[in-house]
């Protein structure tokens, strides 16, 4: 019983930290330590929230950003996992392509912004392209590494029980790498969410990234903070949703130690 109380208290700790942070913020803005034009008060941010929700703009921006991430990230996963499987299984393909994949993995996706605008203009397409460039290469590398490290004994067992071809892929290889793939997807989903903000700031007419850039141009620091809070919260929610994948019983083994 005592332990249960302790965990309940522990769960409340983050909210206590939040309350303290808002309190400090309120005090700082009441004392006018910084000018209001550079340091919006909690109250003005709350008003900004109401305004953004009321006009429906926040909802539209959220949908726009989430749509771009969904498309770009899904494309990266749909193409990256198969390529990773090929690289993981064939040492020649690995030798040939791994340096190139590594190069693009280490090239900041933001370096593609100029080309993204030149090739795709403004709107959904450049953002989707940039998200793809951010997520694709890490997914390829993680998949290839996971496949290459599958214990040989699984393939010996698969041979004993007559698994071949497509069955070998879907019932042995994929379940064997599932835990590592899920981890890679969590990391790259976070990366995609970071990249979409940057992409929209420069190559967008809507979306949360554009919203905070627009707020800055309009000197609306309250809306800037609103945008930042929404971006952060959605990022956490995406990660929490993907974290749920790790609770699937057939992948738990990959996370138990």
């Amino acid at each position: 019983m005592i332990e249960e109380k302790v965990t309940k208290k522990v769960r409340l700790l983050p909210f206590a930290v939040l309350a303290v942070a808002v309190a400090v913020w309120t005090v700082l803005s009441l004392l006018r330590v910084f000018p209001e034009s550079l340091f919006p008060s909690p109250l003005s941010v709350a008003d900004g929230f109401a305004e953004e929700i009321g006009t429906g703009r926040m909802f539209n921006d959220m949908i726009a950003s989430l749509f771009r991430v969904a498309i770009g990230f899904s494309l990266a996963a749909a193409l990256g996992v198969p390529l990773g499987l090929v690289l993981g299984h064939h040492s020649r393909a690995r030798a040939a392509l791994l340096p190139a994949v590594n190069f693009f993995r280490n090239l900041s996706p933001l370096a593609w912004i100029p080309f993204a605008i030149l090739w795709f203009g403004i709107g959904d397409a450049p953002a989707i392209f940039l998200i793809f460039m951010a997520a694709f290469f890490p997914i390829v590398l993680a998949t290839a590494a996971a496949v290459a490290s599958i214990p040989t004994v699984y393939f010996r067992v698969a041979h004993d029980y007559g698994f071949k071809g497509a069955e070998l892929l879907t019932q042995v290889t994929l379940p064997a790498i599932a835990p590592q793939i899920i981890t890679a997807l969590r990391v790259t989903a976070g990366l995609s969410w970071v990249v979409v903000v940057a992409a929209e700031m420069i190559a967008g007419r809507d979306g949360l990234g554009f919203a905070i850039w627009d707020a800055r141009n309009g000197l609306r620091m309250d809306l800037l903070v609103v945008g930042m809070i929404v971006i952060g919260v959605i990022g956490v929610v995406i990660d929490q949703l993907l974290l749920r994948l790790t609770r699937i019983p057939s992948v738990r083994w990959g996370y138990e130690r």
Binding site: P151, V157, Y161, P249, S250
Partner: protein
Amino acid sequence: MKDNLLRLENVSRSFGPVEVFTGFSLDIKRGEFAAIVGPSGCGKTTLLNLLSGFDKPSSGSVEREGRARMMYQHGGLFPWLTTSENIRLGLRHIKDEAERERQLALMLGLIGLEKFGGHYPHQLSGGMRQRVEMARALAGDTDILLLDEPFSALDYLTRLKMRRELARMLMERPRTTVLVTHDIEEAAQLADRVIVLSERPARIRRELWVDLPRPRDLTHPQVIEAIHTVLEEMGLEGDTQNALAQGT
């Protein structure tokens, strides 16, 4: 019906410059329990892979009559499948679902894990996992059971227990069995024939027969004698000077 279920004839297998077998021959008779012991790195796993058909010889021939299944040292269970799902792999060839489930229940009962059908391997103890491996390999109607150091990852007492379990399971479901192990006790306590291999490239140094019904006591005089003979052959007991002179 041929007398030999497994036959390696003049088999060579090398990995790059490493010759694991050169001109190696071995016959395993129907219904026999053969144990192969040898120093580590002498190619025991390669031999099993050749016997199971997972690996092909560089030259020579491997004849195998019927289906072979292997029980692995550890980690041979698919961790993403439950106990029941793992055992069902061994019943894949049974088309009728009701019959498959009946066999599954039977196997779970035989290994005493009726209550653990829904558990994943990482939720089981080492001994339980090896029992599931045993059930999976013995499920269905295979002809040959290959054992790759099946109990070496277990503690000593569990190992002794598992040997008895294996002997009991083989009475229920007789199979031609090849046990590869570095555990000389295990070989002498379980096998009809103990085959001692030399270092690479492996050849048969010695064969001895233990003509006793299973399950056997580890301390039965004939088992003790077999252990002694094998240890002596490997230069680990008796006249050590002589063994050193042989270069072992």
